[in-house]
């Protein structure tokens, strides 16, 4: 508690362990308007959106988790936001949508293909082998809890598009995420697809798990994969627009 110094702690994909610390208490601060948070570092909003887009376009089984604030028709604003949410979904090849309709425990057993629940979100992540996900419209308390549990036990890259102040426990987060920012996120995804994604380590795979697998097949020691393996907007990467995305399930 009480550490505002520049921290070395980074919010990266797990599994981090049975009980990772709250990122806030490790010195990670929330972004201001116009900024974003990527792996614990304050960046521009544009950079955060780009990192989120790359994760959703390159990692396995990307999934959107809409919460009650966009799932339920509370008011006209919610209805409108849901429309733009689907516009984002339509730009993500192979995307799945699994709702978080409720925060109460679901017993005796959740259906991990139908819902995600903050009591044990890791079950949905692990069952569906989700490696990148977006939370949107989830009340902040439950979002923070969910993000911690996912970071603890899975290798999923979490993205929190928060209507309030953002989330330190997500790998990528943008605060005050309104309809305008949903539109910008869609545009970012389109741009990233158009410009292509270049592997930073040529010949070693694009997605971290792919790199690990190739290393294993070659008999090399797999290096812990990092998100920095890829970057967006580099000419000469994919020669054509990513019409269909990366289908990691087509093995």
């Amino acid at each position: 508690m009480g550490n505002e110094k520049k921290t070395q702690y980074r919010v990266v994909t797990g599994p981090e362990g049975i009980l990772p610390p709250a990122a806030t208490l490790m010195g990670i601060s929330l972004p201001e308007e116009g900024e974003g948070l990527v792996e614990g570092e304050i960046v521009s909003e544009a950079e955060a959106l780009e990192k989120a887009a790359i994760a959703l376009l390159t990692r396995k089984n990307p999934t959107l988790f809409p919460g009650p604030l966009v799932l339920w028709g509370w008011n006209d604003h919610t209805d409108e936001k849901a429309k733009y949410f689907f516009d984002v979904a339509n730009e993500l090849p192979g995307i799945r949508i699994i709702p978080m309709p409720d925060y109460r425990p679901i017993y005796p057993k959740i259906d991990p293909e139908a819902v995600i629940n903050p009591c044990h979100p890791n079950l949905t992540i692990l069952h569906n082998k989700i490696e990148a996900c977006v939370f949107i419209g989830v009340h902040c308390h439950y979002a923070s809890i969910t993000l911690k549990i996912i970071r603890a036990g899975t290798n999923c890259y979490t993205i929190a598009l928060c209507a309030e102040a953002g989330h330190e426990d997500a790998m990528a987060s943008v605060p005050n995420f309104d309809i305008e920012k949903l539109v910008r996120f869609r545009e970012t995804i389109v741009t990233v697809k158009k410009n292509g994604i270049k592997p930073l380590y040529e010949g070693k795979g694009i997605v971290p798990t792919g790199w690990s697998q190739i290393a294993s097949l070659k008999g090399e020691t797999p290096v812990k994969p990092e998100e920095e393996l890829v970057e967006a907007g580099v000419s000469g990467a994919f020669l054509n627009e990513l019409e269909s995305g990366l289908d990691d399930n087509a093995e």
Binding site: M1, G2, N3, E4, K5, I18, L19, P21, A22, A23, T24, L25, S29, L30, P68, W72, W74, P101, D102, Y103, R104, P105, Y107, P118, C119, H120, H139, C140, H141, Y142, S144, I145, K148, I149, A152, A163, E164, A165, G166, E168
Partner: protein
């Protein structure tokens, strides 16, 4: 805060437009109602920055309880709930006058403190701005509910006019009850004087209701010296108030019986606590303390920092909170007259605790004296946990049971520590 308030007496709104800070005017009176609007209906909602930091102020000589009343008058409180026991403190009696004057929508007198604190939880869950006040044994009786508020993410205001909790009872200052709030999970501010008892509740409401915070706030003062005695308090005009609570922009859903789905009301997993995963329970607790950490940004903005430092370069530093700060200020003045190099750190926020700030402010200090109005020395323990080289800390002097703290006692402790 008190020094800044003096400066703010002359302050004008930053914007040239005199109405730039106004968020909304009172609703127009209906044609058929000719009588003049009074109470909250006559107040303008203004930006919190304006009300807390910028609005011109006038000085009044009032008791701490009256200062709390004036704070509540401008806080746009929906409901006050209490089991008022005058004469221990007349704070809630003063708040009752506000209800009579139309500044509070409802005033509910609980049957005792467990009932009071339960009702506070219910009111907060319903999304309204709620206030209560208690002290000593009353706080102890209600604490079962009080410690449940942070986990429920229930913004609310608890005024604590500290007295003694243990027998023999007293109505004199002894702030041992703050030690029982340290690990509850809520924000705890400790006011020095009547001015703080006016300022801190307004700040507390705004901080606790921020979406990334969403926590209850306790504002404690040392009873009698602050609550019963008069002091100068700088306050803006009565005709302005804070914006209302925006319960639809908080960390948990409020209990809304008018809009579906009611089933996700904010306490759902809590009431199913037998069934939630251990990991969720653990992450839930982490989130409470994380929310406290997030409160620092807003406390820094409106409180002017979690600590105040006097004579920052002094080799001997006094670290104090509450009424001990006032005594320490005078001790510093007397020490300076004698040519001694003594400074003072006033801790305004006990939770979140200013760990980073203390470490920076005490880096150079050779001796750290921690005077307190309680037997157990909870503040000295907090300081020792927060800083390194704890052999510098002299955990005292301490008075308790309603005793006053002569400045000579502080000076003698400093002298003896050389």
């Amino acid at each position: 805060m008190s020094e800044e308030v003096k400066e703010n007496t002359e302050t004008q709104p930053r914007n040239d437009d005199p109405r730039a800070h106004v968020i909304s005017d009172p609703p127009p009176a209906k044609e058929e109602v000719k009588k003049e609007k009074t109470g909250a209906a006559a107040q303008r909602v203004v930006d919190p920055d304006y009300l807390i930091l910028e609005a011109p102020r006038k000085k009044e000589f009032i008791t701490g309880s009256e200062a709390a009343k004036e704070s509540v008058r401008r806080a746009n409180v929906d409901i006050a709930i209490a089991y008022p026991i005058t004469p221990q403190s007349e704070t809630m009696q003063q708040v009752g006058y506000l209800y009579a004057e139309g500044y509070i929508k409802d005033y509910y007198r609980g049957e005792e403190e467990i009932g009071v604190m339960s009702a506070v939880a219910g009111a907060s869950r319903a999304g309204v701005r709620v206030l209560t006040a208690t002290a000593g044994p009353g706080l102890m009786r209600g604490i079962e509910q009080i410690v449940s508020w942070p986990g429920g993410r229930l913004p609310s205001m608890l005024l604590v006019m500290c007295r003694v909790v243990n027998a023999p009872l007293a109505i004199q200052p002894d702030n041992i009850e703050i030690s029982y709030l340290l690990n509850a999970g809520g924000i705890v501010l400790h006011g020095e004087n009547q001015q703080d008892f006016y300022d801190y509740p307004l700040i507390g409401f705004m901080v606790g209701e921020k979406p990334e915070v969403t926590l209850p706030v306790a504002v404690a003062v040392d009873g009698f010296f602050v609550t019963h005695a008069r002091g100068w308090v700088n306050m803006p005009a009565e005709d302005i108030k804070l914006p209302p609570r925006d319960c639809y922009h908080e960390a948990v859903p409020m209990m809304d019986n008018e809009n579906p789905p009611i089933r996700i009301s904010r306490d759902s997993p809590i009431q199913k606590s037998n069934f939630i995963s251990y990991q969720m329970h653990a992450a839930w607790q982490q989130e409470i303390w994380a929310a406290q950490e997030r409160a620092k940004k807003w406390l820094n903005r409106w409180l002017g920092g979690l600590i105040e430092v006097v004579n920052p370069g002094a080799k001997t530093m006094i670290v104090a909170s509450g009424a001990a700060v006032s005594q320490s200020r005078e001790a510093v003045r007397q020490a300076t007259e004698k040519g001694l190099d003594v400074g003072l750190i006033k801790i305004k926020s006990i939770r979140p605790f200013p760990t980073q700030e203390l470490n920076e402010a005490l880096e150079h200090a050779e001796k750290i004296v921690v005077p307190e109005f309680n037997y157990v020395g909870w503040l000295a323990k907090e300081v020792k946990v927060a800083i390194d080289r704890t052999d510098r800390v002299i955990a005292g002097p301490r008075v308790f049971g309603g005793m006053t703290m002569p400045t000579e006692l502080i000076l003698e402790t400093i002298a003896a520590s050389k």
